[in-house]
Symmetry: C3
Subunit: 391 residues, 3 copies
């Protein structure tokens, strides 16, 4: 393959050789392979329902059967058509290709029948790819890796504490027109809060959100890299590590004033974890934690899956939180406030779309945590999605 | 030219080298050159009318002059603009370019005048490409080949019998968003009938259409390759050669039942012919034959030209057939029934669009006739449309 | 870089090597660098107003500050986003990036502040590109070149006389979907007037516009190449140099008659000047001159900026001309008449879009002035816009 040319969605070798920090991260335009990703909210796939999704460039089809969700590749072996274009499930645990009747089991991918050619020698001999699926906290996690991979535990691929029994979680999901890394860096970036200064959430929740948060040095973030646990980078937002800026000046003149005297100084820390999930704590309220996944769909789209977690001690508390999530946090925080981030990512995408942005960007001191994240991700990613994985 | 890169619409050498059966067919993304193709219905171009068409990636302009249709390239020699963008015919047998007045004769392509520069030395010295045209059975056939080619007789490029004097023919035409080979293989494919099982035509015409037709071996099709005649492959649909499947099972359970007891067991045979035309006999009625051309327009479009033929013994019979065609066969068969095929082709196109589908598909026993067609077409095609033909 | 592949908007070396006349002109798909281009009408940018424009593939942002227009690159140094996506000017002479608060001065491009990170070491150390701007005759001219270039005087980049004190000028501007060279050659082409034969302007203004103007030889145009002045090519439209054709024939039969007896034989000469501006004199009236710029926007768009000039001796004459421009010349000439040219350019673009048109076109005698223009432009262009200028 010509070094200067790359299949759509992949970074050329010529560019990668010029990346000196976080090269594997830059290479992972379609994401890190061998990890768990939330593809759907559990409530989006009810018993018997079939749902197509695209993850890391691969198309798959999910079905809930007797309560459990199964996933297989959404591409018939025979002629390559998408099974999901016209769903034909003659039995609950199979799907039949609408074109020539090739029928696959959801549990093991086996080509178990061909309606219309029942004596074919290929029946029982071929398999379609399957994808391990696991549900937790109301999310449907899919493992996108090789079938020969030993399956890592889910807790290694989510922020610490996310799976805790007393954490009630409610989520929201949409597609954003930007690469997943643009999403991740927008979320973890400590000076982008400038764009949120007029948000209703700040006012209504009496938040002391500064115009910028400037780290005092390399010690203001710390990495978590213990074997067997999640791998991530922490930003520490206490006065020892970070200078919050509430007054904006241009040419010596004050042009903006954020409310430093507001009641709630949030968050205390922000962290980002492989394979691409943010944790903001506490946020958007002293009793809540916000989690955000940036799940690669293809080269220029990601699923922006936002979750809010709250420690609850009783069913009544859980019920109360469920109600507040729907009436308050989803519209005001996950949509209202974070809509500015969605807009920012889509406006950033063009600069990075042809991959030269990684060479042309000019990061500054406050981006130290981003550099750390790129290095950590390059160091601990299990694998990188490559062109051959899409064939 | 870099081997891994190909002009749009052409298959790379790298892929072709990995194709072991029917390589020339796979290479013919824009069709086989040196053949006759039906571009229009005769009724679509009346006396004096000018019609632009695109065939095998080439744009041409047709005009009917004194009853006869002529074709020239739809591109002025001077600045390359399409003559058809603004038709200027100052005399009946010429067309003048709207931009600088270059005027061409339809019969021989000669640059015979330049309105506005009548003394130019190039007048009478240059020619635009002409395309031989022949009308038969209400279709306008165009020969797309080199001007130096000796012109093959039309009867070599249509199914046997199509030109018979007693065959009345009526046709219908539309553009489909898929490569012409996807069209051809959808039509000739003996198990795709699975998609037609709910068609109104089956019910209304009391057709015993099975869910699949499985050949009993290589003897269930036969090729026709006599010199001087059409070249094609026959599927034989009698009980000695093919097993019709009327009962569909999944995991041992019956899930579908086609009507094996219906009155009409159609068709008896299906055949496909160079340069890409199907013959289904009898169909959709014991007295009719269906012909279908998949005419390459560009890399991802073909003209789907459907014709029904009926042997008629009198003007009254011909008139009766003309009326039935309009009121019954066109809406119910050519549209209603075959609309499912159009949908299937457009759903199949993405897998083959970047040419890797030919390497990734997994054909099975029932596709033996498709393999035979690819081999026959590779063996008998006159030439392959290449990038230089579009310059 | 592979010789057969070029970044979008640039001509491959393989094609350029096959161009024998005017190679640098063919290479200048995105225009000639190091020249002045009119980007806007002065009236389109009022005091304090910010306007994004794209020139030669570069995006810039203009602002009028205390009467003067300044231009900087419309791309934040930090993350590459367009400043114009959400304009934030906290002081009149700066613009602040909406994303992270990077603030730039319009006069020198200095990164003078980062709102939210006021102590950053990069403040005062980095600069964004600036673009010299000069206003004349109601047009905002921008110099697109290297910052190290010594700035050429504006009068070298406009037709002779355009800056004369007694010339009143009114202008009109729009975007055309064609490369700038297609625009320039459409304007300078002496036989394209064929397309204007039915224009209302010809009739209403009693113009003796022929169907074609055929040069009598190489002496019918002359180049202007004095050092320190504008560089251009003149077409001479007097009877000694050019044969006007008023009668159109096809096959010996008269098919068209232009009005040779009309009162006004216009124009007397047409000339074209670097970096791509036409002068038609007199036109569309014996007392007027038409100027037309074809300003490269990107590979397949140009700004078509039309200006009419008239020598005026008093304010009253100037006022009268201003009124006539709005009520008569703009709608009838700049729009009505020249709309045909816009249409022609957009219809010509596809043939040249992949750059092979320059090899396939077949110019004839009457295109001698076009050849001369391509050679002159190649000889005197200051530089050629290259891929690296867009990084």
């Amino acid at each position: 393959m010509d070094r200067t040319q790359s299949p759509a969605g992949f970074v050329s070798q010529e560019i990668l050789e010029r990346v000196h920090v976080g090269r594997d991260y830059v290479a992972a335009k379609l994401g890190f392979r061998g990890h768990w990703y939330p593809a759907l909210l559990s409530e989006q796939i009810s018993e018997g329902q079939v749902r197509p999704v695209q993850l890391l460039g691969e198309r798959l089809i999910l079905k809930r059967i007797d309560g459990r969700v199964f996933g297989i590749r959404d591409r018939c072996l025979h002629r390559g058509v998408q099974l999901s274009r016209k769903v034909e499930c003659f039995t609950k645990d199979t799907i039949t290709c609408w074109y020539h009747g090739f029928t696959y089991r959801f549990d093991n991918g086996l080509l178990c029948d061909i309606v219309g050619a029942p004596q074919s020698a290929v029946i029982g001999k071929k398999r379609i790819r399957t994808y391990p699926v696991q549900e937790a906290k109301g999310l449907v996690f899919v493992f996108v890796g090789d079938e020969s991979d030993s399956l890592p535990p889910l807790h290694e691929d989510v922020p610490p504490g996310f799976l805790d029994a007393d954490l009630a979680v409610h989520s929201h999901s949409r597609i954003v027109n930007a690469n997943w890394r643009i999403g991740a860096e927008n979320g973890f970036d400590s000076t982008h809060i400038f764009i949120h200064r007029k948000s209703g959430l700040i006012r209504d929740n009496d938040l002391a959100l500064p115009l910028g948060l400037v780290p005092k040095g390399r010690g203001s973030f710390r990495t978590v890299e213990e074997a067997g646990g999640p791998k991530g980078v922490f930003d520490l937002f206490d006065p020892d590590h970070v200078t919050p800026v509430f007054t904006g000046t241009v040419g010596g003149t004050t042009v903006l004033e954020a409310n430093a005297a507001a009641a709630n100084a949030l968050p205390h820390h922000i962290s980002i974890w492989l394979p691409g999930v943010l944790c903001v704590h506490p946020w958007p309220d002293p009793a809540l934690t916000q989690y955000e996944w940036y799940v690669p769909v293809d080269a220029d789209h990601h699923i922006y899956l936002q979750a809010l977690g709250k420690r609850v001690a009783s069913d009544a508390e859980a019920k109360q939180f469920a109600s507040e999530f729907q009436t308050r946090w989803r519209p005001v925080a996950l949509e209202g406030f974070n809509d500015d981030d969605v807009w920012a990512r889509e406006a950033t995408e063009p600069f990075y779309a042809n991959d030269t942005g990684w060479l042309r960007e000019q990061l500054f001191e406050a981006d130290g945590n981003i550099i750390e994240w790129r290095k950590l991700a390059s160091r601990h990613r299990r694998a990188i999605q490559q062109p051959e994985h899409l064939l």
